[in-house]
Every structure is written in C-alpha cells, then in structure tokens.
C-alpha cells in the first residue's frame, strides 16, 4: 500500500472507530437503563403487594 493509500484508509477507519466506540458506550447505557427498569418494576411490585 502506498503512503497515500494508508492515510486515506486511516481516515475512514477513524470514523468507523468512533462510531463503533459510540455503539459500545451506548450498550453500557442501555444495560444501565435495563437495570433501572427492573429495579423500578421490583419497587412497583412491592408497593402493590403492600397496598
């Protein structure tokens, strides 16, 4: 690969890398949201059983 080709590919790969990193961060966020939902579902159930 010529030097120019390497740089061009690097530029496109950086964009891909950032988008993929975003997806990973988002996956963490989604799992946290999931956890919160199940916690709140627990809370609601307990409330309902107590009432």
């Amino acid at each position: 690969m010529t030097s120019a080709e390497k740089y061009v590919t690097a530029a496109y790969l950086v964009v891909l890398a950032v988008v993929l990193a975003y997806i990973v961060i988002y996956a963490f966020k989604l799992s946290r949201l999931e956890r919160e939902v199940s916690e709140l579902a627990e809370l609601a159930k307990r409330r309902k059983d107590a009432a």
């Binding site: 030097s3 120019a4 061009v8 530029a11 966020k29 919160e36 709140l40 809370l43």
Partner: protein, 226 residues
C-alpha cells in the same frame, strides 16, 4: 411512529454510506493534482458539513425553547450539540490526517476550516462545562439555549476573523485543489456520502434522544414510586 423513523434513518445511513464509501474507493477517478489522497475529501467534508448542520439544528431547537418555554426542546438541543461535537472531533481528526498526507504536518494554522472547527470545538466543549456545573431545571435549559445560539452566530464571525488573520499572523497558507471543479462522478459520490453522514447523524441523534428521554421518565417513575 418515532420508532419507524429511527429505523428508516439508520437504514438510510447504512445504505448511503456503504454505497458512498465504495464509490469513493473504487469508482471515482484519481484527482489530477492530488492523486489518491484526495479521496479523504469524500469523508472529511461531509462530516464537517454535518457538524455544522448539527450545530444549526441545536440552535434552532434552542430558539424554540426560548420562544415556547417548552422544556422538551432542551434535551433535543443538548443532544444536537453532542452530535455536533462528535462530528466536530471527527472533522479535526480526518482534517489532520489529510494535512499530514498532503503537506507532511499534522496541523496547519493556515487551514481555515480546521482552525474554525478548533474554535467551535472549544466553544461547544464549554457548553458541556456549563451544563454540568448548573443544577438541572428551566434555568439551565435557558442558559444552554442562549449559549447554543451564540455558537451559531460565532461560526460566521469566527470564519471572518480567521480569514482576516491569515495575511497577518500565519503567512503560510497551504492551498488545496479541491471543491472548485468537481467532475460529475466526484460530485455524485460526494453527495451520496454527504447524505449518508446526515442520515448517520440523524440516526445517532434519534437514538440518543430516545435514551435520554427514557432516562428522564425513569427518574420521574422512581420519584413517583418512592
């Protein structure tokens, strides 16, 4: 309804970018002077334009917030700024790579777009500092909105300033043979990539906004239950 829009945007982004990048690598001819390295143009410029679009979108939502006092617009403006900063960072990185392969340096103060993006990056990074140091509420929303509006006014003013500063401070202005005479195939490839980037930004924006709204509603739910 919102769900199908998110899917449509994501699909459009995937399709357009796949086609666009393939064209940029395999179909488009080499630029006469610059050669192969000119192909960075097809990813760098769409990203830059998309970043601008995000900032303008954020300013529009900010204006709507100040106009209607509807707090819904706060998250939309904030998410748009976030997208703008992500694409702004990408602009700086791809621009830097392009500078490196064109002129051997990783940075050039003579490269107007790069300098402008650096200023904007600093400005919108301060936006996050502002948001993180003020307690959530309508006050923070209003302040963020005003700041987002200032950002969009800063874009042309900064550009003018950078142009004025050129002969003065940084006499070495590298020139690039791009954008002026685009052959048909090049223009088409560029437009496809541009549309793809906008769709990508829109897709990420929609997803992130949904995530933030869910976050908010869960907090409300938590408060209601405890």
């Amino acid at each position: 309804m919102p769900n199908s829009r998110a899917v449509a945007l994501a699909a459009a982004a995937a399709g357009l970018l796949l086609v666009g990048i393939t064209l940029a690598f395999y179909w488009v001819p080499n630029a006469p002077l610059e050669g192969f390295r000119q192909r960075i143009f097809y990813i760098h410029v769409p990203i830059a334009l998309t970043a601008y679009a995000c900032f303008f979108w954020a300013a529009w939502k900010a204006l709507r917030l100040l106009w209607t006092r509807d707090q819904r617009y706060d998250l939309e403006s904030y998410t748009a700024v976030h997208m703008g900063v992500i694409f702004g960072i990408l602009t700086l990185v791809t621009g830097s790579i392009w500078a490196r392969t064109s002129w051997g340096v990783w940075w050039s103060w003579g490269e107007r777009q790069l300098v402008l993006f650096l200023v904007l990056f600093l400005f919108y990074s301060a936006y996050f500092m502002l948001r993180f140091s003020v307690d959530p509420g309508p006050r923070r929303a209003s302040m963020s909105a005003v700041y987002a509006l200032f950002g969009v006014v800063l874009i042309p003013v900064s550009f003018l300033a950078i142009r004025l500063a050129e002969g003065l401070i940084h006499p070495v202005v590298f020139d690039r043979d791009v954008g002026s005479n685009l052959a048909g195939s090049q223009l088409l490839t560029f437009l496809i990539c541009f549309a793809g980037m906008l769709a990508l930004a829109g897709s990420l924006y929609t997803n992130e906004l949904t995530g933030k709204r869910i976050d908010d509603r869960l907090s409300e739910l938590r408060e209601a239950l405890s």
